[in-house]
C-alpha cells in the first residue's frame, strides 16, 4: 500500500453530492418514475392547498349580523360550503371552551386552563426537576380546584355537573397521566418482582384492564360502581371517570415501562448489586433512569393517545372539549357548521399533542446525549 499512496489531505465532497440541488436530485428526480410521481404529487398538493385557502380565508365569513331572534346565519348558508363560516366560532367559542359553566364566571375556568399550561411549562424545564416541583404541582392543582369549585374566598360555588369544555379535558388528562405514570412504574416493577404474590397481582391488573375497552370501564365507573357503594354515599361522576382513566392508562403505560426494563442489559443490575446498592437505590439510580429514557417515544405516544381518549367521557355525559363543541352546533341557527367547529376543536387538540411530541423529541435527544460518541 505504502508505495502507491499519494499524500493528500481531506478533500471537500464534490458539489453534486451536497446541498439542496443534490438533495432534490437524489430524493425527488432520481429517475423518470420518481420525477413523474414528484410532479403529480406536487400538483395535487398545490391544488389542495389553494382550495383550502379559498375555503378558510378568501370566501370565509368572519361574523354575522344578529337581531332579536338571535344570530342571522343566512349569509353563511348561501355559501353552500364554498367558504368557512368562522362566525360560529366567534359566537360559540365560550360555550365550546367552558361548557355550561356560569357565563359571567368564565374567567375562572379560563384562569384554570392558563394555570395548567403554566404548570406544563414549568414541569418541562429540566432545571426545575427537583422534589420541590411536587409542591408546585400540589399547589397549582389545589388552586385549580378552588377556581373551578369555588365556595371559598368569595367565589360562588359551581357544582361539577356544570363544568365543561377545555378544563375538563385538561383535568382528565393531567390528573390521569400524573397518577397513571407512577402507578405504571410500580406495576412494571411489580411484574418483574421476585415475590410471586406481587407479580400475580400486577399481571392480573394489567391483563384485566387491558382486556376491556375504555368505554366499558367508563360505563362501569358511572353506572355499576355506585351500586356497590353504601346508601347515600356518592362519589362525584368526574372523579369516577378520572379513576377509570387512571387505571386504564396505568395498565398501558406499565407495559411500555416494562419494555424499557427488559431492554436493559443484565450486567447493569449485576453491577448495581455488586456495589451493594439496595433494591430501591438500584431501581431509582440505575434502572429507571436508563429504562425510562429508552421508552420516551412509546411513552409519549401513549400520553398523546390518552390525551385524546379523554374525549370518550362524552358517553357518560361529561362535557369535555369535544362534547361541548358537538353540543354547540345543536342550536338551529348553527346547525350544519360542524366542519368549522371540529376544525377549531381539532386545532386545540393538535396544539397540545404537537407540543408534547415536540418536547419529547428534544428531551430524548437531551437525555440520550451519553449515547453520542
Amino acid at each position: 500500500m505504502s508505495d502507491t499512496a499519494i499524500p493528500s489531505g481531506p478533500r471537500k465532497p464534490p458539489i453534486t453530492a451536497v446541498g439542496p440541488i443534490a438533495w432534490a436530485k437524489t430524493n425527488l428526480f432520481s429517475g423518470w418514475l420518481s420525477t413523474a410521481v414528484t410532479l403529480a404529487m406536487g400538483y395535487l398538493l398545490i391544488k389542495l392547498a389553494l382550495s383550502f385557502i379559498d375555503w378558510a380565508f378568501v370566501n370565509a365569513i368572519w361574523s354575522v349580523p344578529s337581531n332579536a331572534q338571535g344570530p342571522q346565519t343566512q349569509a353563511c348558508r348561501d355559501l353552500r360550503g364554498a367558504g368557512a363560516c368562522w362566525a360560529v366560532i366567534g359566537e360559540k367559542h365560550r360555550f365550546m371552551l367552558f361548557g355550561t359553566y356560569p357565563y359571567e364566571q368564565h374567567w375562572r375556568p379560563a384562569l384554570a386552563c392558563v394555570l395548567f399550561v403554566v404548570l406544563y411549562i414549568i414541569s418541562a424545564i429540566r432545571s426545575f426537576w427537583r422534589w420541590e416541583l411536587a409542591l408546585v404541582w400540589i399547589g397549582m392543582l389545589t388552586a385549580i380546584g378552588i377556581l373551578m369549585w369555588g365556595g371559598v374566598f368569595g367565589l360562588s360555588y359551581v357544582p361539577q355537573e356544570r363544568w365543561g369544555g377545555l378544563p375538563i379535558t385538561l383535568i382528565l388528562a393531567t390528573f390521569g397521566l400524573a397518577f397513571a405514570f407512577p402507578l405504571s412504574i410500580l406495576v412494571a416493577l411489580g411484574r418483574r418482582s421476585s415475590l410471586p404474590a406481587i407479580k400475580v397481582l400486577c399481571v392480573l391488573y394489567v391483563e384485566l384492564i387491558r382486556g376491556v375497552p375504555l368505554i366499558s370501564l367508563l360505563f362501569m365507573a358511572s353506572v355499576m360502581f355506585p351500586l356497590f357503594l353504601p346508601e347515600g354515599m356518592n362519589i362525584d361522576k368526574l372523579l369516577r371517570a378520572q379513576i377509570a382513566i387512571i387505571l386504564f392508562a396505568g395498565a398501558y403505560l406499565a407495559e411500555v415501562v416494562r419494555g424499557g426494563l427488559q431492554a436493559l442489559p443484565k450486567g447493569q443490575y449485576e453491577a448495581a448489586d455488586a456495589m451493594g446498592l439496595s433494591y430501591w437505590q438500584k431501581t431509582g439510580l440505575i434502572i429507571l433512569p436508563q429504562a425510562l429514557r429508552m421508552v420516551i417515544p412509546p411513552l409519549v405516544n401513549t400520553f398523546i393517545g390518552f390525551f385524546k381518549d379523554t374525549s370518550l367521557v362524552l358517553i357518560i355525559g361529561i362535557f369535555d372539549l369535544l362534547t361541548a363543541g358537538k353540543t354547540a352546533i345543536v342550536e338551529p341557527a348553527w346547525q350544519g357548521f360542524g366542519v368549522e367547529v371540529y376544525v377549531f376543536v381539532g386545532a386545540i387538540y393538535l396544539v397540545f399533542c404537537y407540543a408534547m411530541s415536540k418536547y419529547s423529541r428534544g428531551l430524548e435527544a437531551d437525555l440520550n446525549r451519553h449515547r453520542r460518541r
Binding site: E270, A271, G276, L277, L285, P289, R372
Partner: protein
Amino acid sequence: MSATATAEQIASAARADAPPAIELAGVNKWFGALHVLRDVNLAVAPGERVVVCGPSGSGKSTMIRCINRLEIHQEGRIAVEGIELTDDVRALDAIRREVGMVFQSFNLFPHLTVLENCTLAPIWVRRTPKKEAEELAMELLARVKIPEQALKYPGQLSGGQQQRVAIARALCMRPKIMLFDEPTSALDPEMIKEVLDVMVELAGTGMTMMVVTHEMGFARQVADRVVFMDQGEVVEVGTPDQVFNAPKTDRLKLFLSQILRGH
C-alpha cells in the same frame, strides 16, 4: 529485589495466622439439572492473589460470582471476611460493601459520567460526603491513569479505558477484596496490556485479589497461587511455577497445551 522478597515473606507469614478472606467449603451449585460447581473447597488468605483458570464452562466465573452472591450456591458454605453468605440481607450488604467486582463487559452505567460512576456507591452505600467521594474518585482515576476522562460518559471511552474506570469504580468503595471476572476477555489485544498493568499495580498494594483470566503471563507475574478448574471441580491448586511447569493431572496438561498452542 531482596527488600521485596522480605516483604513477601513477612506478608505470607502474616497470612498463615489470619482467618481466610474468602472461604469456600463443600460448595455445590446446579443450573437446573446441570451440576456446575462440584464440591469446591478453597480458602484465600488476606492479601493473597489467586488466579483461577480453566476451559470455558469449567465453572470459574460461576464460582467467583457466588462469592458476592450474584449467583446463589445450593450446598456448602461460603464465608467472606468471616461473614457467612446466607439469605440474611444485612450480611450480604456487609459483604458486598467489602468486595469489589470487575466484569468482563465492564458494566459501567452509561447514563452517568465516569466520575458519577465512581462516586455513586460511596455516596449512597457508604454515605460518604459528595466532595470527599469525588476527591477519592479523582485520586483513583489518576491511579488507573485516566483522570482527564472524569467528565466524559462511558460510551465515549475505549474498551480499555472503560475497564480501567470499572476498576477505579470498584476501588472507590475501599474494598478489602477485589474479584475480577475475565477482565480482559472483551478487549482488543492492544488494550489488554493497559488493563493488566493497572491490575499488576493493584496487586503491588497488597489487595486481596481473585482473578478469573486466561492471561497466563499475568498469572505468572502476580499470582501467589493458581487454581485450575475443569467441569465444575477444582482440579489443581499450586504456585504458578507448580501449575504451569509441573502439571500433575492430564486435564491440566491438556489445557496448558491448548492455550500454549493458541499463543
